[in-house]
Symmetry: C3
């Protein structure tokens, strides 16, 4: 994907507010199937990113490998894996912009287990089970270096063919935790996510207040057959929590190519916000 | 490609004059086509090079990505791109040797925008239009870090089915510029390029004189159906300009494999020159 | 491949004794064939490894390239190559465990030319000739930086359809040398290797004694059609030589997937040994 990005805060900080933005991502996947029907997979990702603060780009890099054993609805991931928040579409909702620069989760500060596209990632274990209208999962990431082990679990249930409820919970050995619930309602051309949660960051006295309730909304509306308008809003109860909103669009050009863009605002809830926006082309191959 | 390389100057500098030379280059290309017929492409190059001064080799690396939008004769490149000199065959002419170790451009010192095979490259924009017998192009490379933006433009025209005239011009924010003209004449088995230009490097007082007129010649002659003899000469009017000449051959072994080699001399125009040469096999896959 | 590894010595040294272990290895091969029937090949390996001492994993890396010219039974390798020991199956014998963590060669300390999977490797030359029941090979690795050139040669002969004798010899400019002989006997479901050699490490006075005779045994036994039991033992005459033994198994799950595991003990011959073991899944794709 490539395009133009605008970030007022980068410019204010002495860098460039407008930059050529781009990302090249190639998944290198390998699969093998036992006679008993178990699928073993491995993935390494090759990714090249831009560096928008100085309007330059970086060389492509390889990340840490993820290994999977998959049997019917069950999936075990080992290595550089996604945890129970990161693996969930409901957690992220609709993210406006070519770069999906914000979303309903904007105020969340808890550091849950995420797949790393450009680094070695964790050496963790995650397991997921997908049933006819539900999904459960969990992960455990031992951290030998700092001793800060973390784990998370989630469950998702779809009912009445239109509503999906997701609940996720994670905590780590630093006495931090995150509880998130997302209710998704999916009507014909309109889909909306309501996002509500609570995080306990075990903040040191005098630290910036980013703790407490987090909440957000995101929605998508199909305009005609090839265009979708998306919007998101996220904030939290902490005085220093990030508050962000944005609106964007996706226009399908066919053949795996889409024109995407968005514009919004982000900043501390009780501070000055800055404008962000981008516009460009995303293509899958 | 791999073979043996000889460089007298490396030996004189305390390194190795003879080394096993090699290069592995793999382009990772990705393409998508919109319903409207626009092609979007992305390329990352994986390359492993030798380090002939110590006769060792380096691990393979990935470079910065190039993104392209192509529609009929028009091409837009973004990211790690070639500028209007680098994208032109006429500028380079015939380059003798397995490693194309010299060419008619030997005395050019201006640093124009080039595609980087092993680094992140520029984050620039280049556009080209190819017509029935002409080609125009240009590039712009903003450099936020040092403030030395640069741009270049070129035009090429083929006439009488045998002659091609190329003119390129580039300048940067350091008040440096380069103007190059190349006339190519293509007769049945013999092709010759005449290269003439002028560069203004805005040299500091007392700096080595590498400024002024640059000139060169290169030619290729087909001996039989599978063998070509190539030669090049390049020099300039500056006292410290590089002067280099070489002769080489290419022998096609079929299946994308060619035996290539060359021998020549290079050094400052008013100084001592040293011998360079190589011999080896190039194969495409 | 991925699984669980146990290494008592890592735990004793303040690290982790048990770790998630994994390796992702992808060979990027390129081939071209001349009209005369010569095959030219190049290989770069992409590999991601774990870091079991801290139970984390590393990002994938690219290694140095290997270039080959192959014509009938003759093969010439240039660049990051395997020498005459490294290229031989007989030298390695059966190596128990998912990670092949030990083998009959456990006491060998001589540093012969090896293919590097994660580094740039040597810039060396190796040649091999394979006949109907024999194989000869040799390599030469010039080292310009430290001046420690090294070379090795080997010959292997199969007789009576069941016995294979391998002899390899290597030396370097530091007056170190290694001579190894391996006799392999292959009976229906049972294969055994006897390993005997001598190394001269030109040790400094007072250095730990790892010199002298090296010896070992390894064997494999097929239990049914899909399972093999393997075992190895290696030791040497030096007081500080490593002594290691292990037993393991391989169970084929079909489709290129195998369950592998092993357990053993290793340590200095006259010192305390520690337990090592692993269990996991290997899959080829």
């Amino acid at each position: 994907r490539f395009g133009l990005g605008y970030n007022e805060a980068n410019g204010d900080a002495g860098g460039e507010d407008t930059a050529l933005i781009s990302r090249f991502r190639l998944n290198i996947d390998a699969d093998a199937y036992t006679d008993g029907g178990v699928q073993f997979s491995a993935r390494v990702r090759l990714q090249a990113d831009d560096d928008p603060e100085i309007n330059e780009q970086n060389s492509a890099t390889l990340n840490g490998a993820r290994f999977s054993a998959i049997y019917q609805g069950f999936r075990l991931d080992v290595g550089n894996v996604s945890g129970a928040f990161d693996a969930s579409d409901a957690y992220f909702g609709f993210e406006p912009g070519l770069e999906a620069f914000t979303g309903q989760y904007a105020a969340v500060d808890y550091d849950f287990l995420e797949y790393s596209s450009t680094g070695s990632g964790a050496n963790a274990v995650a397991a997921f089970y997908t049933g006819p209208n539900f999904l459960v999962g969990g992960s455990y990431d031992p951290d030998e270096v700092t001793g800060n082990d973390r784990w998370d679990i989630s469950a998702q249930y779809t009912f009445a063919d239109a509503y999906t409820l997701y609940v996720g919970y994670g905590e780590n050995d630093n006495d931090q935790s995150l509880l998130i619930g997302v209710l998704t309602a999916d009507f014909d051309r309109f889909t909306v996510n309501a996002f509500l949660g609570d995080e306990d960051l075990n903040l040191a006295p005098g630290a910036e207040d980013t703790d407490g309730t987090v909440y957000g909304l995101s929605a998508g509306f199909d305009v005609g057959t090839a265009t979708q308008i998306v919007a998101s809003y996220g904030s939290g109860s902490g005085d220093a929590d990030t508050e962000a909103y944005a609106v964007g669009f996706v226009h399908d050009l066919g053949g795996g190519v889409a024109l995407k863009g968005g514009i919004g605002s982000e900043g501390p809830r009780n501070g000055s916000s800055s404008t962000v926006g981008d516009l460009g082309v995303l293509f899958n191959f």
